[in-house]
Amino acid sequence: MTIVIGFEGSANKIGIGIVKDGEVLSNPRRTYITPPGQGFLPSETARHHRGAILTVLREALDEARLKPSDIDCVAYTKGPGMGAPLVTVALVARTVAQLWGKPLVGVNHCIGHIEMGRLITGANNPTVLYVSGGNTQVIAYSERRYRIFGETIDIAVGNCLDRFARVIKISNDPSPGYNIEQMAKKGKQYVELPYTVKGMDVSFSGILSFIEEAAHKMLSSGQCTAEDLCFSLQETLFSMLVEITERAMASLWLSGGPDCNLRLQEMMGVMCEERGARLFATDERFCIDNGAMIAQAGWEMFRVGQITELPDSWITQRYRTTWR
């Protein structure tokens, strides 16, 4: 029996989860929500995490009904992510690891998502579409490593959606992406946007610039509604994601794919059905950043003896997805 506690705080969520051999014992989380029109900045986000982390840690232990001495290993997000929030979380992880006399494991955030997805869906050897505010990658396991088959060459798909939400002042509560998804359902008109797939890779920054300009012009002249723009943006971005995922699958003959936007799941579902592949999706408890996913990846690493010595436990804002 191995019990691992995981600390996650690479972006605007601070989460701590405890995992015991594939069972999630607790997974509390707090989200730093900014006013409409504003993104989350590193230093303010770090301040939010500093204010919440010890309460969340207490909750994680209480909910799991565990004492620190029951824990075998402390896992934390080493990267990628925003520097200041990452440091905040790493400081607490390092300190409790020493106070409790437990080994420390630095986890790649992207691997955390993949390992959690594997645990929750039971998918054996998936092709994974990993999309978030900071990352857009099509990943699969090949020749003893996770490898990136396709990715964004500029900004993440979530970043594109978040920044569009800021332009037209959509609420960040519970998340800009969720609110765009709801508005998109009421869209009636498709506004043509650039479509930028480059082989296995995608590019979103040009689409963002285009829609920013179009939004100001078309909304003020009444040519379309904000709902139409949400719908058009989602359809365009998601089609691009489906295309690169399909291409990765074609070269691998495998299946998979997370993210909690229902429209994206629907589009992926159609593509997978046409290919005779199975689509696995996780729900918002586990596809949104959380501590249990870091605990789960940490559990896997700890079991094969990969621990991080304190002098090597620095955080890193850039971190390629290549573990195993």
Binding site: L91, Q98, L99, L310
Partner: protein
């Protein structure tokens, strides 16, 4: 506190007492791994003597020094709060 040895360099020294050397050593190991985010213009050294954590910065500009110290103090406070909240159960 400042006693510049290089005439162009600013220097700042901080001494933080902990209840024991055990806590001071934990703090230094928690605070050391991350280097200063800037590539140059500032250096930081941490050390422990008995129960005292000592930190020394040298920097080219006061602005850079101020930012580094402010962020260090935030980090230090968090480590100390963590010890207060979760440290009692493990004397060694």
């Amino acid at each position: 506190m400042a006693a510049p040895c290089d005439p162009d360099q600013l220097e700042f020294a901080l001494a933080v007492p902990f209840p024991s050397q055990w806590e001071a050593s934990i703090a230094v190991r928690s605070l050391s791994p991350d280097r200063e985010p800037r590539k140059g213009g500032i250096t930081r050294t941490l050390s422990v003597t008995e129960n005292i954590l000592s930190v020394k910065w040298t920097a080219d500009e006061a602005r850079v020094l101020r930012v580094a110290i402010a962020s260090f103090l935030d980090h230090l406070a968090l480590v100390m709060e963590t010890m207060d909240a979760f440290g009692q159960s493990v004397p060694q």
